[in-house]
Amino acid sequence: MILRIEVAEQANIAFPESRIDSVSATSFQDQLVELIGRSDNVVVDCADVEYVSSAGLRALLVAAKSAQTKGVKFAVCSLKSHVKEIFTVSGFDNMVQIHPDRETALA
């Protein structure tokens, strides 16, 4: 997966592609952790994401931990309802800030 990055005034925004699973999770995680290493605020905009497996959740967990360790603000936004289900079932939303859209995440 090639992670598209947009540099906004308030944050660096990462746009993962449609699937975060065992095929893409390692590359996604590496790029996200690298982005966290050079940012103060990172938002992962999942508007294009259709599927997240347990490997994808683990990649996000590693990124969130990296952000916490480095004191970087980290949030996820724009989850489609069927993708949001996996975040809710796992309680991931208790560990990481989840916003309904990018505007709220950047506010």
Binding site: S22, S54, A55, L61, V89, G91, F92
Partner: protein
């Protein structure tokens, strides 16, 4: 083979007392569930399998070079590349005693655990498993306590270790009931994070319910 312990080995190690006694019977459903769950997570952490809320996918058949994990992987693969989560759990649960034995042998090979036969009253033999070095067990306990006593986001491996230790009553072996009670909210928040273990939890409860039904059924 890796120097790092697999999650399955860590779970087994946590069930050995300082005196070398096995505090959990390997043939019980709880121990089998803990071992099966640990092997599934080990395989997931090594990118051999992946899952969502319904299905488990075998994504890479390359050997892990750990006999217990390769046995679990082969068993899953025999059932196809895509399995329902429940059938995957059932498949690994069926061979959990073998997995336990293989992982235990690995702990012995690593020199962490040393089997010692004792003769009591001249005839009764008892086997103990003394820890040549308790550093590995202490490290596993410390990892759990570090996560539970902080608000830090855990690593995926720590999540699985805590989830399995909580679900199958292994936390109780080294934490006081009162301490577990005090940390319950945090334990549950962390334990939920790995969705691979949700199916294991569901299946263990279903089997327990089936067993309970058998025990209370009248003899026909």
């Amino acid at each position: 083979m890796s120097d790092m312990l697999t999650l399955c080995e860590e779970i087994i190690l946590l069930t050995i007392s300082d005196e070398g006694k096995l505090l959990r019977d390997p043939t019980t459903l709880a121990t089998k569930s803990a071992v099966a769950g640990a092997c599934l997570i080990d395989l997931a952490l090594q990118n051999r399998i992946d899952n969502d809320l319904q299905n488990l996918f075998v994504v890479d058949l390359a050997p892990t070079n750990e006999r217990h994990l390769d046995r679990a992987l082969a068993s899953l693969a025999q059932n196809g590349q895509k399995l329902t989560l429940d059938s995957a759990v059932s498949c690994v649960l069926q061979i959990a005693e073998d997995l336990y034995e293989l992982a235990f042998k690995r702990l012995i090979e690593r020199g962490i655990v040393e089997p010692k036969d004792q003769i009591l009253l001249w005839v009764i033999k008892s086997r103990r498993y003394l820890q040549a070095d308790d550093a590995a067990q202490n490290a596993a306990k410390q990892k759990i306590l570090d996560v539970l006593l902080s608000k830090n986001i855990p690593t995926p491996a720590d999540v699985a270790l805590i989830a399995l230790a909580y679900d199958y009553n292994i936390l109780k072996l080294f934490m006081a009931d009162r301490e577990i009670e005090r940390l319950m909210d945090r334990i549950i928040d962390v334990a939920r994070l790995d969705i691979s273990l949700h199916a294991m939890r569901r299946m263990s409860l279903a089997i327990q319910a089936q067993l309970a039904a058998v025990y209370i059924s009248p003899i026909m």
